[in-house]
Assembly symmetry: C2
Homo-oligomer: 218 residues x 2
């Protein structure tokens, strides 16, 4: 049975590859694995059928041979553990790469999501402008710490790993943020990730789905 990913049938990012299926698509492309997709809408993703796959009514969900998984970080780790190419062989380097995977989704992503959600949901609130500097500063702090640790290296732990894949996917949400250009090392780091052929195939695949849907909606 092929791998099946459940993704937005009509992604709210309008094909910019910022939804969390992108990191799983990217991992699948890096590993050379074929997959099918199933689309869900904002309505069907809160229904019982999807909640059985993804308990929080989000995307992506992953299915293969009777195994159903959720959490993009966990899905990428599952793939990286079973197929060579996305984790270092050395045990210490592998453990550090896993630490960076957790850092991407639990230390770097939350302040980015908090900043992005405020812009999406609280833009018309009286307090929006007053809170922005605080939210930007939380992101800025994490970016500076990440850039300091990355230093002059191309990737976080030796060659390109699942940690870079997750970290770059998370940082791409800042594509329109004023904080990102302040860290040229991170801008270059993201560009290195986006230049990978596997990234480009994954990006094209999610983009094609969005464009087909946009045409169908015309």
């Amino acid at each position: 049975m092929p791998i099946t990913l459940t993704v937005f049938e009509d992604s709210p990012d309008r094909g910019r590859g910022l939804a969390r299926d992108m990191q799983v698509r990217w991992a699948l492309e890096e590993l050379g694995l074929a997959y099918a997709v199933r689309g869900v809408s904002f309505a069907t993703m809160k229904g019982a059928e999807h909640l059985a796959r993804q308990p929080f009514g989000q995307i992506p969900a992953f299915e293969e041979d009777g195994l159903t998984l959720f959490e993009s970080g966990a899905i990428v780790l599952h793939l990286a553990e079973r197929h060579p190419g996305l984790l270092p062989a050395d045990p210490h380097a592998r453990a550090r790469a896993l630490a960076w995977m957790f850092a991407a989704v639990s230390t770097i992503e939350p302040p980015i999501v908090e900043w992005a959600m405020a812009r999406m949901l609280e833009r018309d609130a009286d307090w929006f402008a007053a809170r922005q500097p605080m939210l930007e500063e939380r992101v800025r702090t994490r970016l500076a710490q990440l850039a300091a640790r990355l230093g002059e290296r191309d990737w976080l732990e030796g060659g390109f790993t699942a940690a870079d894949l997750l970290m770059i996917s998370v940082l791409r949400r800042l594509e329109r943020a004023p904080m990102l250009p302040e860290q040229p090392r991170l801008v270059a780091y993201i560009a290195r990730g986006e230049a990978r052929p596997a990234f480009q195939r994954a990006f094209a695949a999610q983009r094609a789905l969005f464009e087909a849907r946009a045409r169908a909606n015309d």
Copy 2:
């Protein structure tokens, strides 16, 4: 060389076991592993020596045999991979336990931290009361989804695993929140975790450190 954990020398939670060293201490106790602790203060944790161990200037950091790790989720996973007792043997069950580990730190924890941080840092702001219902609702949604999936089971995936250890640690931050009692299944789930002898040993260890410090400060 023994395992060394870097922890708050004077925890801001005043010994309630809510700092993130608690989940690593708990895992070490479940696995029967001895460890030493090194304390850092709010000042020294932003210094170069600690940043070399923990790039974001947080606690805990983990050291063993030349390996330095950060991110409590990654440290718990590292320990669970190397010592039996905290991950299922069946590959599919193991993969699902890893998904719950990621869910704990990247889906359940962020709205809890956002709610807790607002109470800590924005309590005197004009908008505090107006934003509270939205922040509470974000937590409430996740708790309801988690309770629905947990159902009548004792633990998330078969017996007690590293996933429960992380999830219960994250949920404990809600000990004073009005949203938690609305989900009696989760209240009972937390109590099951806290009743484990390993939890109690870990809790007592961090508590003793706080109390010794409080006496020294008298």
